[in-house]
């Protein structure tokens, strides 16, 4: 029980095995052990959700999950959205609507928007605002983020 614990996590469709300290946070496993630095650490205090990833299809804060708790689960990070060079419709919409200013919160916004649209393909503006209510944009550029999600919902390319 002491020491490192073996885990097996499927990240963006690829099975990754590692031995980790129990205190390793999922976000650090993703960024430092796997080198997937698209998942950002914003506040580090479980408030901002820049670190949002999907775990078994549900959007969660990777800074508030232990890597050992992700053992046996499927993780989707922002790197897993695009297919090769082809951006995901949610990414395309953020690009064309300029749904970002500094861009730091964008990976988390994309994951929350993606998770929302997975369960609700035609959200109202209110539902979009609730869906991203856990994600903080310090530039406060929410209007264009909401427009981006609306555009993504209209995309025929899902």
């Amino acid at each position: 029980m002491a020491g490192r614990i073996p885990i097996s996590v499927t990240v963006n469709g690829v099975r990754r095995e590692a031995e980790v300290e129990p205190r390793l946070l999922l976000v650090h496993f993703i960024r430092e052990d796997l080198g997937l630095t698209g998942t950002h650490v914003g506040c580090d205090t479980s408030n901002c959700s820049a670190c949002a990833v999907l775990m078994d299809g549900k959007v969660v804060k990777a800074c508030t999950v232990l890597a050992v708790q992700a053992d046996g689960r499927k993780i989707l990070t922002v790197e897993g959205l695009a297919k090769g060079n082809r951006l995901h419709p949610v990414q395309e919409a953020f690009l064309s609507k300029h749904g970002l200013q500094c861009g730091f919160c964008t990976p988390g916004m994309l994951m929350s928007a993606y998770a929302l649209l997975q369960v609700n393909r035609h959200p109202t503006e209110d539902e979009i605002r609730k869906g991203i209510s856990g994600n903080i944009c310090r530039c406060t550029g929410y209007a264009q983020i909401v427009e981006s999600v609306q555009q993504a919902a209209r995309s025929k390319r899902w």
């Binding site: 029980m1 002491a2 614990i5 300290e21 129990p22 205190r23 946070l25 650090h28 580090d44 205090t45 479980s46 408030n47 959700s49 949002a52 549900k58 959007v59 969660v60 804060k61 800074c63 508030t64 999950v65 232990l66 050992v68 708790q69 053992d71 929350s112 609730k130 869906g131 209510s133 856990g134």
Partner: protein, 292 residues
């Protein structure tokens, strides 16, 4: 921010989990969704030497209504409570609270058992549990026992579970015809603690007067508060009696004990309690079938 080192165990059964806890004493902590505990561990306000992860234990996330009870497994996620049609239609206060706890990401992992057994007076579900007259089922080395919500919240971060007991199920009295509830919370921003929160559960008698009522308060004292004087006052009164409702609100505010902080002064928070109690009673009454 990185937690202190700890050992981690993911037991396969409840009895194995209890053995692990009993063997380690107060140094061990139960983790389920982790949405309260992990933030505290990152800040090193909590540094357990052993985490016993019960989140994979089977059978503890069911929501079932029987003849007398709504039974909710302790591992039921907030998002699952929020999505439950049964709870939305019949257990309104519970549904209301499930929509305003933390943020959507927290609700995807946070569990009902964790929200109540953490013992944080700022958590929303304790007040709902007090208003509903819920009971908590705990299992320990000596077997199972039931603890009434009103006997459960002892002090800030202290509940009536011993270190080797695990909360397994929450029992809520079955919703009867003529009953309704509401949870209202004033918060400055999403996922912040409440300035104040109020849960009201009401059952109307045949004549339309209040047959029974439960009032629970969030974030205005060292624990969630059951506003007993307010409840006693309101039994037998008409929910449409403005003067009676005003006295109900005044008594609930009097029973609250808020501290002054960045979310407001103590006297301001008492006024918020009074306002939310009258609004929550109105909505609970509407849900109970009182004319809107």
């Amino acid at each position: 921010m990185i937690p202190s080192s700890f050992e981690y165990a993911s037991p396969n059964s409840l009895s194995e989990a209890i053995d692990l806890l009993a063997g380690r004493g107060a140094e061990a902590k139960v983790i389920a969704g982790g949405q309260s505990l992990i933030p505290l561990m990152k800040l090193r306000l909590a540094s357990p030497s052993l985490l016993v992860d019960i989140s994979r234990l089977p059978g503890l996330n069911r929501v079932e209504e029987s003849r007398d009870l709504l039974r909710i497994g302790a591992l039921t996620r907030m998002a699952d409570i929020e999505a439950s049609i049964l709870i939305r239609e019949r257990y309104h206060a519970l549904h209301d609270a499930s929509e305003v706890i933390g943020d959507p990401l927290v609700r995807n992992l946070g569990t009902l058992g964790g929200n109540v057994s953490h013992g944080d007076p700022n958590n929303d579900m304790p007040a709902v549990m007090l208003a509903l007259g819920a009971e908590f089922v705990a299992v320990g080395p000596k077997g199972e026992r039931a603890i009434k919500a009103q006997d459960f919240f002892l002090d800030t971060f202290t509940v009536a579970l011993s270190h080797d007991e695990i909360l397994t199920e929450i029992h809520v009295p079955r919703a009867r015809t003529g009953s309704g509830g509401c949870y209202l919370k004033l918060e400055q921003k999403v996922a912040d603690f409440a300035t104040a929160g109020v849960a009201v559960q009401v059952r109307l008698a045949k004549g339309g007067e209040v047959g029974d009522i439960g009032v629970g308060l969030t974030a205005v004292g060292p624990t969630a508060i059951k506003a007993r004087k307010a409840e006693d006052w309101m039994r037998g009164k008409m929910p449409t009696d403005g003067a009676a409702v005003q006295e109900l609100s005044r008594l609930a505010a009097e029973e609250s004990d808020p501290s002054t902080d960045l979310r407001g002064t103590s006297s301001y928070k008492k006024q918020v309690v009074a306002l939310l109690v009258s609004r929550a009673l109105r909505r609970a009454w509407e849900k109970a079938g009182g004319a809107p």
